[in-house]
């Protein structure tokens, strides 16, 4: 198992955001993390990407602990944050090259990668546009491309398709399907059709705890529901009564 999460917990003052999360994700797996607003998805991603120290627990990412050796973990992953994060006064191409270079690419290498990704994300025409002049969806695409340019072994996509138009969303799905099996993808989203189209396995979080885990079929079987939406509603309602 390349990601092994062990009783990972994060507490803010007296609010438990992530509660004893234990979970393993395999090499090249496409894992979807679902949950209502405030369930703890982003907090989990922040801990796994070494942006936040866990209150307790640990996770081993490709052999390195996020607590003991975050610097080694960081080299292997990249993240597309929930809020788009691009440099305002840099052009699309400069943004991409900048990220490639802080992950260790040479100048030429960074340039080639940037060109390839702009092509892939339909940003080639806007190569010279400044970050602050992009539309919301363009900015989102750039933000995802920036997460991919370092060619990470593990990528975290926190609600990547918010604000994308229909074609851009389908294009992103295709890009992700092509990457499937090669790198480990951890995705959070509130669009369930996305999960059905892409995910190998689904984890449903509720109030910081992992409520359910399995493939789409397994979850359907477990709940006796036919649609993922009903699976989701049932599993997140059950937690309410406990």
């Amino acid at each position: 198992m390349e990601i092994k999460i062990m009783e990972l917990t994060k507490t803010f003052k007296d609010r438990v955001a992530v509660d004893q999360l234990t979970l393993a994700i395999g090499q090249g797996e496409f894992f979807a993390l679902l949950g209502e607003n405030g369930a703890g998805k982003t907090t989990t991603i922040k801990m796994l990407s070494c942006l936040m120290e866990p209150t307790s627990g640990d996770a081993i990412m490709l052999g390195d602990s996020i607590v003991e050796n975050p610097q080694a973990v960081k080299k292997k992953l990249n993240i597309s944050p929930q809020e788009t994060a691009v440099a305002r006064n840099l052009s699309v191409q400069e943004n991409l090259e900048f990220i490639a270079r802080i992950y260790g690419s040479t100048k030429q290498d960074a340039e080639q990668k940037a060109i390839r990704l702009m092509e892939m994300f339909g940003l080639a025409e806007r190569a010279k546009s400044k970050g602050r002049n992009l539309s919301g969806g363009m900015e989102r695409r750039l933000s995802i491309a920036m997460a991919m340019i370092s060619e990470p072994e593990i990528i975290f996509l926190d609600e990547p398709t918010v604000g994308l138009d229909v074609r851009a969303r389908l294009d992103l799905w295709q890009i992700l399907l092509n990457l499937k099996g090669q790198i480990t993808i951890i995705l959070t989203t509130h669009y369930l059709e996305e999960v059905e189209a892409l995910a190998d396995r689904i984890g449903i979080m509720h109030k910081g705890r992992l409520q359910a885990l399995g493939t789409l079929e397994e979850l359907k079987h477990q709940t006796g529901q036919i649609k993922l939406q009903d699976v989701f509603l049932q599993l997140t309602a059950e937690g309410e009564s406990t």
Binding site: K74, A85, E94, F98, I99, I102, G104, M146
Partner: protein, 241 residues
């Protein structure tokens, strides 16, 4: 290497904001010109170019604090900082990357103000060369304040704090009037802060009174080290969430 890549990004981010240049260069030069005109009708010598130009250069450095603080504050609020915190850059890479691009800005400000002072009739002396060196050291104090504000406050708060900061730095440094004119507690407080020492040191250096430079610079350097230290501590803390 990573620090330099990051510094390059920050340089672009700062210099591509035209307001930056406008405020950082034009305002100090304008002040220099206005006050030197006033000095012609003044009975005392505070606004002679020899006293005014060094103080105005130090005044222009307070914009460095603004640029640094705003840049970091904005990177925080746009979660750009979060994205690069996930990268393998080390804490020192960030601090070098944020501080380095401000040195050429400081140099341009120094040159603009000094050039304007020469045009307005200040005589050239070779003492200007070591004085420039001194100014580079002093610019680190203002960079450190920028790192400090940017680390602990949001970009909006930095804007508000700057309004206070620029007043504190000028009023308590004897830029617009002599501190001994007021004296008392005001003067005591002013000399507990680093700004008056910075202005005194630069004035002394431009005048060639090097014996006066040493003690005043100790104040400036001590403050720089402490503020830098606190900023680094806060920044590292933030990196760990």
């Amino acid at each position: 290497m990573k620090a330099l890549t990051f510094a390059q990004r920050n340089r672009k981010e700062i210099l591509r904001d035209p307001m930056t240049l406008l405020f950082g260069m034009v305002l100090p030069v304008l002040m220099l010109w206005l006050f030197s005109m006033m000095s012609e009708n003044m009975p005392f010598d505070l606004f002679t170019l020899e006293k005014l130009a060094p103080a105005i250069i130090v005044f222009s450095f307070s914009f460095i604090t603004l640029f640094t603080g705003m840049l970091i504050g904005r990177d925080k609020s746009s979660s750009f900082l979060m994205r690069i915190f996930a990268s393998p850059m080390a804490a020192t890479d960030y601090l070098i990357g944020y501080a380095l691009p401000l040195l050429p800005v400081a140099f341009i400000q120094m040159s603009a103000c000094y050039g304007a002072a020469l045009l307005l009739g200040m005589p050239f002396t070779y003492d200007a060369i070591p004085a420039f060196g001194l100014l580079v050291i002093i610019s680190f104090l203002y960079i450190a304040f920028g790192l400090f504000f940017g680390t602990f406050f949001t970009d909006r708060q930095v804007g508000a704090i700057f309004a206070i900061f620029v007043n504190v730095t000028t009023w308590f440094s004897g830029t617009w009037f002599g501190l001994e004119m007021i004296g008392g507690t005001f003067e005591t407080v002013a000399y507990l802060l680093p700004f008056a020492h910075a202005v005194d040191a630069v004035r002394a250096a431009f005048a060639g009174n090097y014996s006066e430079v040493f003690i005043t610079m100790l104040w400036v350097i001590a403050y720089t080290v402490v503020i830098f230290g606190v900023a680094v501590w806060g920044f590292r803390k933030r990196m760990r969430g």
